[in-house]
Subunit: 235 residues, 2 copies
């Protein structure tokens, strides 16, 4: 048995990145989890990411802060209210955070270089969120090309691979895949704008896509199953 | 006279980014300056960037913090001492900060999107610093391609242009260009590891390249001309 290769996985505290990280582990990677606090209005994501990092027994969980609120331009960082009950269309939603995935991937790339990791995992999905420009396959390919030129490792002929294992899966497929991997989705947070007590609002895009995913997969969502989300450090 | 187009300029507090920003202004852009504190060991850069932003009368100066020290891997963020008196070779120096320019450009891209700016300026230079992978022309082209795919504006057919006006200039050319634009290089800081009292060490790569540039340009460096660097807010 050789030493397992290292992978940097972006962990947001949500269902998708948890599943992507678990897939990386199932593929034999040693996990280095990166969570970026970028000024989300809803700050329940960091505790969720910590629970998930522990659940996946990652080798290290690095938390970085970069305040994208001062850049503005997104409902997710407080520039305007999170939209509710809207018709889901392919247009770019108001919750799009300008250049967010590029910022997150750049930080992951820098850490990967220091760790000697050649693999990055991101839980983006082009099916349900086709409105986000930085979730599209052509965007991810362009980032991989950039990464090959941006780093010392790239110059030395060791380009970084960018994995997006959920890219072409529906939310139902993702939930099924996670269930097969034994994941505990009760650890995650999904809502963009929770009610008091951290209850999912059920009305933002993110809640509604999650609900549809569980429904289509024929599975119960543990967050709605009478069980409250776990408290930070509670697992 | 139309409204001048907006440009986001990365301002480090050094001589190169000051010159690049001044070139943007001379080309008719309205300047939005972005300075990122990424955990540099030497923290004199931020006051210098503020002096320069004031000198250039930028419309806004945004300061963002992202702590790349926790990623490590560079002499510039404290992972090891700054090398002195080394032979300058094309190898990647220990002062290379993993993925730094990708992080800086991502943040600039996000801000540009919110501002409605389609132009980014960065003071990178492929001549003197050919050792940095993320200062090469092919890297910059790859970032521009990524930017066209990463943002709402890109999706709407308004890609972002990345300008690196110093890319193919020697340090002497840069100093000459700045002198022609009337720049006050006494406002800048260049040294990677200053002596007490913020005096340039004269021995790190950055000091030596600056000295050679002024010498070849036949100009006196105001920082070495008996005049101490200005104190923060002192202009």
């Amino acid at each position: 048995m050789g030493v397992p290769p290292k992978a940097v996985v972006l962990l947001s505290g949500g269902l998708d990145s948890y599943t992507a990280a678990a897939i990386a582990r199932a593929e034999g990677f040693e996990l280095y989890a990166l969570t970026v606090s970028y000024g989300q209005v809803h700050n329940g994501e960091l505790p969720a990411a910590r629970r998930i990092a522990r659940n996946l027994a990652v080798s290290r969980h690095l938390e970085l802060t970069v305040d994208l609120r001062s850049i503005g331009g997104s409902a997710l960082t407080g520039a305007e209210p999170v939209p509710k009950d809207r018709v889901l269309t392919p247009a770019i939603p108001r919750t799009y955070v300008p250049a967010r995935n590029t910022v997150l991937l750049s930080l992951a790339l820098g850490w990967a270089e220091v760790l000697g990791a050649r693999d990055l995992f991101i839980g983006v999905n082009a099916v349900d969120y086709s409105g986000y420009p930085d979730c599209r396959p052509e965007y991810l390919k362009a980032f991989e090309r950039l990464a090959a030129l941006a780093t010392r490792a790239g110059v030395e002929g060791l380009p970084t691979r960018l994995h997006a294992p959920l890219l072409r899966l529906s939310k139902a497929d993702i939930v099924r895949r996670g269930a097969a991997l034994g994941l505990d989705y009760g650890l995650t947070v999904t809502c963009y704008d929770p009610e008091p007590g951290d209850r999912p609002c059920g009305r933002c895009d993110s809640c509604r896509l999650r609900a549809r995913g569980f429904e289509e997969a024929g599975l119960a969502d543990p967050l709605l199953d009478g069980a409250a989300p776990q408290t930070p450090g509670g697992c």
